[in-house]
């Protein structure tokens, strides 16, 4: 067995792959938020930004494929670890009292799977432009760019869709309150002093993401952002 195959078959190796792919996905989540927040700057910004992304062409596909592989590996190895963990305690405790293990840390698989369902919906919704009768009626903006701005506004004007987004975001936040500090430990980049500081920073980070992302559907629902074109 080569060192590499020993690595990805071992408990620690699998953990490290989950941590590294998690970091890639977190970087995406940060970048995606910064891009989306441009909706508060007006239609020009978001529509230009979206056009720039599409103009990247093969590079955009390279990023998309990297993310897809990261998602696949992140889930594949987590499920493999979770199955091991289930087998490791066939007889459950009748009474269980946790002292330190947080709710988020004990429910990473569930929160992750809800986030996965959310991602599938989100891609169909805004990348596939589904679930909204108005999306096909949208005309291009004055610069002949696709009107992402109005698409987002019309998309979030649906209360049920916005509610599902906020639930998905909440689960992502829960996932990251643990994940955003846990990866330091998995990769060995941690010591006694850093642990509580990283745990705190991860919680702040996760909730900042939540506020940033949730601000968009909330602003639309409250009527602060109106579509650039009436349909």
């Amino acid at each position: 067995m080569t060192a590499f195959s020993a690595f990805y078959r071992s408990s620690i190796g699998k953990k490290m792959i989950v941590a590294l792919t998690g970091v890639i996905l977190m970087l995406f989540v940060i970048g995606h938020l910064l891009g989306n927040l441009q909706i508060f700057l007006g239609p020009r910004w978001v529509n230009d930004y979206a056009q720039h992304l599409r103009d990247l062409g093969p590079l955009l596909w390279a990023v998309r494929i990297t993310l897809l592989i990261a998602v696949f590996l992140h889930i594949y190895f987590t499920v493999s670890l979770a199955l091991d963990n289930r087998r490791a305690r066939p007889q459950r405790y009748q009474k269980r009292d946790y002292i330190k293990a947080s709710y988020a840390s004990r429910h990473m698989v569930v929160s992750g799977l809800v986030v996965l369902a959310f991602i599938v919906f989100h891609l169909l919704h805004f990348t596939g432009r589904k679930f909204n009768a108005r999306f096909p009626m949208l005309k291009n903006d004055p610069l002949n760019h696709y009107d992402v701005y109005s698409m987002m506004v019309y998309g979030f004007q649906d209360v049920y869709v916005s509610a599902f987004y906020i639930i998905g975001l909440f689960l992502l936040t829960l996932h990251l309150t643990h994940g955003a500090s846990s990866f330091f430990q998995s990769l060995g980049l941690n010591d006694k002093k850093l642990t509580p500081q990283l745990a705190f920073a991860a919680r702040v980070f996760a909730w900042l993401l939540f506020v940033g992302y949730a601000a968009i559907p909330v602003a639309v629902l409250l009527g602060f952002i109106q579509p650039a074109q009436q349909l």
Partner: protein
């Protein structure tokens, strides 16, 4: 003090276990948990019933033999302490106390509350030692060890191998135990020659025993009677990554 005890009874590994209820009456608050169980057992023996089987040895928190999950926590509600260092004053009078064995697949149940923890011994046998005979203790300062490393090695070496980390872990992972055993040698010059092979062998054995995987919940360090920090697991991960890189370059 009086208590109602809900205790796991199981005649042998194959039979189905269940809780049995017992009364513990007129217990002094300064009785240790194990002494209280001794008193209950005396009564059971007098009545001609089979006494509750449980493990204990030194009864002063050194040996790591007493292994009980009390009210859902490994070693009971007082931390850091082994069950033998737990006193009945830690419980409210008249309450029900639930006692279960440490539960993990690599810790097969022998009888009642007694489990077989030789899986931990096999992890140590896989590499948690120095192969060369080093003779008697040398002159104290003949091998210089930085103070910081000496402190960390001592902290890790405090592990008594009770298995509470694996018992408390939501995933039944023995990562804290293995981390302590790998770390205390990795921090010292005496452990350096076998540093690479030690960590790979011990992790391989830990996985082969069927322990779960660490998900960084840190429940282990909360119940550890020797207060081993979960930061040693980060050290173990570092050691493992280092070993794999070294072996990849070497091959």
């Amino acid at each position: 003090m009086n208590f109602k005890l809900k205790i796991w009874r199981q005649a042998d590994p194959k039979s189905k276990g269940k809780f049995a209820t017992y009364e513990a009456r007129n217990i002094s608050p300064d009785t240790s948990f194990l002494e209280m169980l001794d008193m209950v057992n005396d009564e059971l023996t007098e009545r001609g019933e089979a006494p509750i089987a449980f493990d204990s040895d030194c009864r002063e928190g050194i040996c790591g033999t007493c292994a009980l999950t009390i009210n859902g926590q490994a070693h009971g509600p007082k931390h850091p302490a082994a069950v033998c260092q737990l006193y009945m004053r830690s419980f409210d009078d008249g309450k029900t106390i639930t006692v279960e064995p440490f539960r993990a697949k690599p810790f097969p149940l022998v009888r009642d509350l007694v489990i077989d923890r030789s899986a931990l011994d096999r992890i140590v046998q896989a590499g948690g030692f120095i192969a060369a005979r080093a003779g008697s203790a040398p002159e104290a300062n003949s091998i210089p060890v930085p103070k910081h490393n000496a402190d960390l090695a001592m902290e890790a070496a405090a592990c008594i191998g009770c298995g509470a980390c694996a018992a408390a872990c939501p995933n039944a992972s023995a990562m804290l135990f293995t981390a302590a055993k790998v770390s205390h040698l990795a921090f010292l010059p005496q452990g350096a020659p076998e540093r690479t092979s030690r960590v790979t062998k011990m992790v391989r054995q830990m996985d082969a025993e069927g322990f779960g995987n660490c998900t960084n919940t840190y429940e282990c360090e909360a119940v550890c009677p020797a207060e081993i920090s979960a930061s040693f697991i980060a050290k173990l991960n570092r050691e493992y990554a280092r070993a794999i890189l070294q072996r990849s370059v070497g091959e």
